[in-house]
Structures are given as C-alpha cells and as structure tokens.
C-alpha cells in the first residue's frame, strides 16, 4: 500500500516539475524566466547528488562545489582545447568527478562524527578552488575558460532557451529516475540503513566502508553531470563560481526541498534559484526576506516542502479514517 503511494507520489511530483519547467517557457515566454529555470534544473541535479550522500546515507558533504567544478572544468577543457563533442565530454566529466568522489570517500571513512566530515569536504572544495585559480596552464586561472561550445544532438544545435530547457529537464528526469531506482533498491535500503544505525547495519552484513564510498561516488557523479551542463550552457566558467557558498546553497536546496526526497531535491533547486528573482521587487529588502524565508522553512518545514505535502495528505487521511472508525464503533 504505502510503497505504491510513495511511488505514485514521486512520479506525480516529477511530472508536475517537468511540465512546469519545460512548459513555462511556452506559457510565459520570458527569456529571463527560462534562464532561471534552466539554472534551477542544473541545481536540481546537484541537489539530487547531495541527497544520495547526505539524505540517504547521512554523511554530511559540504564539498559539492568541488565536484561541480571538476565536472565543469573537465567538460570545458576537453571541448575547448581538445575539440571533444558534448556527449563524450559530458560522460568523461561524470567519470572524473566520480573517481574523485571515491578518493574523498576514503578519508571520510576514517572519521567519526559529522564535524570532521564537514572539515574534510570543505577543505576538499577549497583545494579544488585554489587549484583552479593557481594552475593557470590548465585552467586559465581566475580568467576562466571562455567559448565553451554549445552541444548538438543528432546534428541539432542546442542554441535556443527552449532547446536548453528541454535538454536540462530531460537529463533531470533521467537523473531523478536513476536516483529513485537506487533509493528503492537494496542499495538504497543499505544506504539508509547506514544513516539510521551504523551499529545495526554492520550486524546485518552491510559493509560500512563500501556503502559510504559508494554514496560519495554516486553524489559526485550527479555533481559532475551538473557541472558539465553548466559549463556548456553558460559557455564561460571561472573559479569564483565554485565557492564554499555554492556548497552551502546545495545543502540549502535539499533542506528546503526535503532531506531524503528526490523530487524534493529538484523542487529545492528550483526554489533556491527562483525565489530571489520573485523577491526582486522588494529591492534592498530582497536578500533579507530571502534569508528569512529560508531560515523559517528550516525551522517549520523540518521535512522540507515534500514533507509538508506528505504530512498534509496524511493529516487528511488520518482525520478521515478516524472518523470512519468512529462511525464503525457506533
């Protein structure tokens, strides 16, 4: 019963997001709206990645900007310097980011407690950003890389915002389905078991080391994909984008959307990018109100926006069933 409803819930939410994301361009037609939504989709990919390692497996990761950067720069360097096409560059970005994820996963195993993990992951992202700035020969330093070519699919050049919306949200859909399949499989169950109780997970044959490294690797894979897409969409990247505040922003997305929920991650990504724009008319109050809303949502929506939806549904179902039971009792 419950599994079925969870499944339909996920799929309905995904469908609504996609209709909203892709449809908005055709409904509203404002290029700026489309631009924000495309970025929202890319953020959604990042948030899905973080949700696997932090939401499912319970390992805090404040280094998503590092993996995001590796995805962007791999794609940018391969396509600008070596003339790789979009798809090969995209796949290699995912692979390289994943490999780094494995490497980061290992020291993360050695520490107990979230505080150390925060230090390890933030320093990792810090190191990556420093390398991007300093290794001018490879990354062009603070100037960044310009002229990253637009992708083409079946000889169709992705150039308009419509094209980008379709491409980004198609990839978001694929990523979301993959993540949901992982969540609903034995792998997802093991990851969640590690989060819920490491002590008993071990006693049930779960190799903690394997699943923690796996979680970091998977999350890095999604971040790599997001990074590559971002580079090709913006055509210009520079190190300042991959800062600590980006990592915090991703954490905010999953907190707002709902920790542990894949559709929630995408909603979180979109909200975090759309909300400042909606608040723009407030002028100087914009960032204050934005921050205030985020703080309030972390306090009052402890399970995020997805949680709010589920709780509301459960509330109505419970009140109805209580009433039904009362009637039966009579």
């Amino acid at each position: 019963m419950r599994t079925l409803s969870a499944k339909t819930r996920n799929l309905t939410t995904l469908a609504v997001i996609l209709l909203f994301g892709v449809g908005s361009q055709f409904l509203i037609g404002d290029p700026y709206v489309s631009h924000v939504l495309i970025l929202g989709g890319i953020y959604g990919l990042l948030a899905i990645g973080l949700n696997i390692v932090t939401g499912f497996c319970g390992q805090i990761n404040l280094g998503m900007a590092g993996f995001y950067a590796i995805g962007s720069y791999t794609s940018a360097i391969l396509s600008v310097r070596y003339g790789f096409g979009f798809w090969p560059a995209f796949l290699i970005s995912i692979l390289s980011s994943t490999l780094v994820g494995v490497v980061i996963g290992f020291p993360a195993l050695k520490v107990r407690g979230g505080v150390y993990l925060v230090l390890i992951t933030t320093s990792f992202a810090g190191i990556i950003q420093t390398v991007l700035n300093q290794w001018v020969g490879l990354t062009n330093g603070p100037m960044g890389i310009v002229g990253i070519p637009a992708p083409s699919i079946f000889k169709h050049q992705i150039s308009t915002l419509q094209d980008w919306l379709v491409l980004v949200y198609a990839l978001v859909l694929i990523a979301a389905l993959a993540a949901i399949r992982i969540e609903r499989s034995r792998i997802g169950r093991s990851l969640i078991a590690v989060r819920e109780s490491e002590t008993s997970a071990q006693s049930l044959g779960i190799n903690l080391a394997f699943y923690k490294v796996l979680a970091f690797a998977l999350s890095a894979a999604f971040a790599g994909a997001a990074g590559s897409l971002y580079a090709h969409y913006m055509t210009t990247i520079s190190p300042d984008i991959y800062s600590f505040s980006t990592s915090v922003l991703v954490l905010m997305m999953i907190v707002v959307g709902g920790v542990g929920s894949i559709p929630g991650s995408i909603i979180g990504g979109i909200i975090v990018s759309v909300l400042p724009e909606l608040l723009r008319p407030l002028n100087e109050l914009q960032m204050i109100v934005y921050s205030l809303l985020i703080v309030l949502s972390t306090i009052y929506l402890r399970k995020g926006i997805m949680g709010l939806g589920i709780d509301t549904a459960r509330f109505f179902r419970r009140t109805l069933s209580v009433r039904r039971n009362d009637e039966q009792a009579r």
Binding site: A178, R186, R189, I192, S197, S200, A201, S203
Partner: protein, 509 residues
C-alpha cells in the same frame, strides 16, 4: 552417546579497556542447537563478550572459532555473513523505516549488490528484490508481528520493537543468534510470548545465546548457564545447579565483606524533625518503559539509606528522578521541605543535593586535581575550597598519590573514588551514590564503601544505590529492596542482611 558439535568456541578471550579487564581469559564454548544463558552482575563483561563474538570489539588476546573456522578479529559485517546474528541491549532499529523495510535490509545480506542491475532494473534484480520481501514477510509471520509490517519502526511499542529486532536478526539466516537482554522493558505477557518464541527459534535449529536479567526466564529457557563476574567465568552448569551455586549467589548478593554488621546508629526519625528527603507516589518512565511504580519513602537527616535490587529494577531511574535528571510522570518529591520534582539538577546541587552517577562520569582528559576542582565549580569561597580539597585527599590517599595523572588513566576503583571526591567538593548535604561498587574487585568495594561510611559519619545524609546487596547492607543503617520498579521490602540493614526474601528478589526464587 553422540557428543554434540561445538558451534562456537571462544578460547582464553581477554579484553582490556585502559586498565580495566572487561574480560579476563574467558573460555566459552556453545554446542549446536542449545539455548545458553549468559548471566552476571552489572559490569561483569556479558555485553563485552557479545561485542567480541560479533566483531564490534577486537579482543586483546584469545581466539574465536565458528563452526571450526577461526573468525578472530573479523569485522561485524563479515561475521554476520558467516552466520552470527545479534540484537542490542539498547534497541538499534532503523527508526524511520517501516518494519518490513527493516527486515528486508537483513534479508539481502547474503547476496551482493549490483549497481548496473539496479539502474537498468534487470529482471534478475527484480526477482531478487521480491525474494527479499518474501523472506522478510516470512520472518514477520514467524515472530508474530506481520500485522505491523507497514508501521514505522519508531512508532511501535517497546516490546514490539524488540520483536522486530529479533525478526531482523533471523532474516540474516543465522546459525547462532545472540540476544542481549531481549526481555528488558517487557511486561509479563510479552515475556511469555518471547520465551515461547526463543524456543521456536531453537526448534528451527538456531543456537541461541541469551543475556537476560530476568532470572526466572533464563532458568526456564536455558539448557546451560554461564555466569560471568568481573570479566571472569565464575560458573557454567545447568540452570538448577546454578541457582544453588554458592559462588553465584555471592556474586549477585555481594561477597562476605569483612566488616562488622553495622549496628544501627539510626535511632529513628525524632518526632519533631521532618525528613530531609521524601518521595510520594512517584511514577516514572524511561523512554516507553514504565520503570517506577508508586514509590514512597523518606530519608531522615544524617541517615545512611541503601536502595538495593537486581539489575534493571529501576534503581538508577529512581536516583535520576530525585536529582532532577528525569522528571517523574506523577507524584511529588520534597527536599528540605520544598517540592523539587521539577527543579533542574544544577539548582539542586546548589542546595546540596549531589548525585554521583553510575559509571562515574569523570573527565578522562583532565588531571585528578582538575577533576576534583570541577566539583567546586559553583563555589566562591577560596579558603573553604582549599580546606575541603585537603580533606578530600585525606579521605582518599590514593588520589593524592595520583594527583597529576589524567583521570582516564586511573583504574576503575580509583575513578570511583575520584567521582566521590569531586562530589564532596560541592559541599553535599545529601549524597546520592549510584553503584559505586560496579566493576570493582571485592577488596576495592570494601575500601570505597569504608570511605562512604566515613563521609556519612561526618554528618552527611547518604542514599546509596547498590546491586551488591551484602556490601551495601554492611554499611547502611536502613535499606529498601526494589524489584521491577516497586519497593518490596524495607527494614534495618542488619535485618535485611539475613532475610531470605532478598535473595529471591535477585535470583528469581
């Protein structure tokens, strides 16, 4: 006659934590198909033995064989795959998952995960997934909680959570099942169901090792019982023999400590004086478990009262309730004529009600001197602090010798002394002591309690909680016996020392 096969053979297992021998050369052999009881007083090493057998703690020395193969210092997940399953003293469920999901996690432990298969949703993966679910449902039916399969684990009642843990352990398809206090917090009906379930598990061919404080249950279930005391194997025999074993009775009630039976210096509460502490109809819960039932008693000024009872009887909860760490569910507590049941611990300390918790709670990284001075945290009178500091060191000369050492490097007994010394620095009027004898050798128990008596003779009121009944009755004026959350006996310490009912309260008569 066919000798039964030994399924598990642990030889000469030793585990040291710092200076403490949690296990000291224990040989532990279990035959296939038996139910083995593992008992012993608090701190005797039962759970440590479980942790060593399941790979959570690496033994300092010794070897472990499972079905003839060496499994010494394997990791928990490897041991689980080779056939050892366990439950935990403090329930360790995956709280946010449904009951069915909890057990499915266990059912998948014997096969390997394939990421590609999951992403591509291969038919083989789907079939496997269905097999896990079926297995999980079968275990739920076996344990008798299949109607709860869609509930979230943390919403269940305590007893049900224990059953989920057992079902989960069974789903790993074990050869041996280690149950760590499965009946803790269960009501009598639930205990009966559990006992029947444990027999059913054995009938499936699974060997069961059971740590349990409910002696009636262990005696009824176990084929053989192993008794641990202070990390050593004290006895191993059939249940009837264990119940009559002199050494076992002494381990539970405390050894024959050579102290003159305290003549009652306590002359009764004089008519006009109000008691220092009085409890009225206290009911208390620990988590979901109802552990204190209608407790009423009082302690007079200058009295030395002992509260004795077996492990899990509710002694610690009662002390915590008095010292403001746990609010009672109902009832009232008066201290020096004031209601205190909703007062916080730090305010009570200012009023001279000081609690020395079980397990000592010293600061391991601070020196002995710093630890002692922490007790004077709330005081401002420098001269008084200096005088008390000297006085405390006179009481515990051993601490003076070790004044510059780190607290964590002390032996268990010295740590206990340190905890008491620290408490004395906050000028207690009423001192609550929780099991100062825990994990100490008889010699040290004597030494520590001797000092407690001195402290009492200096005019302080003492409420001592002890599992070691004889030691406590030897030093106290008056005592209460607590059994499953209720006060069952009261009397002068010397009377209770010879009362056979005390033994019944411990060994389940």
């Amino acid at each position: 006659m066919n000798r039964p096969v030994d399924i598990l053979r642990a030889q000469n297992v030793t585990k040291r934590f710092g200076g403490v021998h949690a296990l000291d050369g224990v040989d532990f052999t279990v035959a296939k198909g038996e139910i083995r009881g593992l008992i012993g007083p608090n701190g005797s090493g039962k759970t440590t033995l479980f942790n060593v057998l399941t790979g959570y703690v690496a033994p300092t020395s010794g070897s472990i064989e499972l079905l003839g193969r060496s499994v010494t210092s394997k990791k928990p997940h490897e041991l689980s795959r080779s056939g050892i399953a366990r439950t935990f003293q403090h329930i360790e469920l995956f709280k946010g998952m449904t009951v069915l999901e909890n057990i499915t996690v266990a059912a998948q432990c014997r096969s390997r995960a394939r990421l590609f298969g999951v992403l591509a949703r291969l038919p083989a993966v789907n079939a496997e997934e269905k097999a896990f679910k079926d297995r999980a449902e079968k275990e739920l039916i076996f344990v008798g909680i299949d109607t709860l399969k869609d509930s979230i684990a943390q919403d269940l009642a305590y007893g049900q959570q224990r059953l989920v843990e057992i079902a989960r352990a069974l789903a790993t398809d074990p050869e041996i099942l280690l149950l760590d206090e499965p009946a803790a917090g269960m009501n009598p009906t639930e205990k009966q169901t559990l006992a029947a379930l444990i027999r059913k598990i054995r009938d499936r061919g699974i060997t069961v090792i059971l740590i349990e404080h409910d002696m009636k249950m262990v005696v009824n279930l176990a084929d053989r019982i192993t008794v641990l005391d202070c990390g050593k194997k004290l006895a191993e025999d059939g249940p009837r023999e264990i119940q009559e074993n002199k050494a076992v009775i002494e381990a539970y009630l405390g050894g024959n400590i050579k102290m003159q039976a305290a003549e009652s210096k306590y002359a009764g509460v004089s008519a006009g004086e109000k008691p220092v502490l009085s409890l009225n109809n206290i009911d208390g819960c620990y988590g979901a478990v109802h552990v204190l039932k209608n407790i009423t008693f009082s302690v007079a000024r200058g009295e030395f009262v002992a509260l004795i009872g077996a492990n899990g009887a509710g002694k610690t909860t009662l002390l915590k309730t008095i010292s403001g760490m746990l609010p009672p569910r109902s009832g009232s507590i008066e201290y020096e004529g004031q209601r205190i049941e909703h007062m916080s611990s730090d305010r009570l300390v200012r009023r001279g009600l000081v609690h020395v918790p079980e397990g000592r709670g010293i600061f391991p990284a601070l020196t002995v001197r710093e630890n002692i001075m922490m007790g004077a945290f709330l005081r401002k009178d420098k001269a008084g602090i200096a005088a008390d500091y000297e006085h405390v060191l006179d009481l515990f000369p051993r601490l003076r010798e070790r004044i510059g050492q780190q607290g964590g490097s002390l032996s268990g007994g010295e740590q206990q002394m340190l905890a008491i010394a620290r408490a004395l620095m906050s000028k207690p009027k009423l001192l609550l002591l929780d099991e100062p004898s825990m994990g100490l050798s008889p010699k040290l128990v004597e030494e520590v309690l001797e000092v407690v008596r001195k402290i009492h003779e200096e005019g302080r009121t003492v409420l001592l909680v002890e599992q070691n009944a004889k030691a406590a009755l030897n030093v106290a004026d008056r005592a209460f016996v607590i059994e499953t959350g209720e006060l069952v006996l009261e009397g002068s310490a010397s009377d209770l020392l010879h009362n056979p009912k005390v033994k019944n309260a411990y060994l389940g008569g």
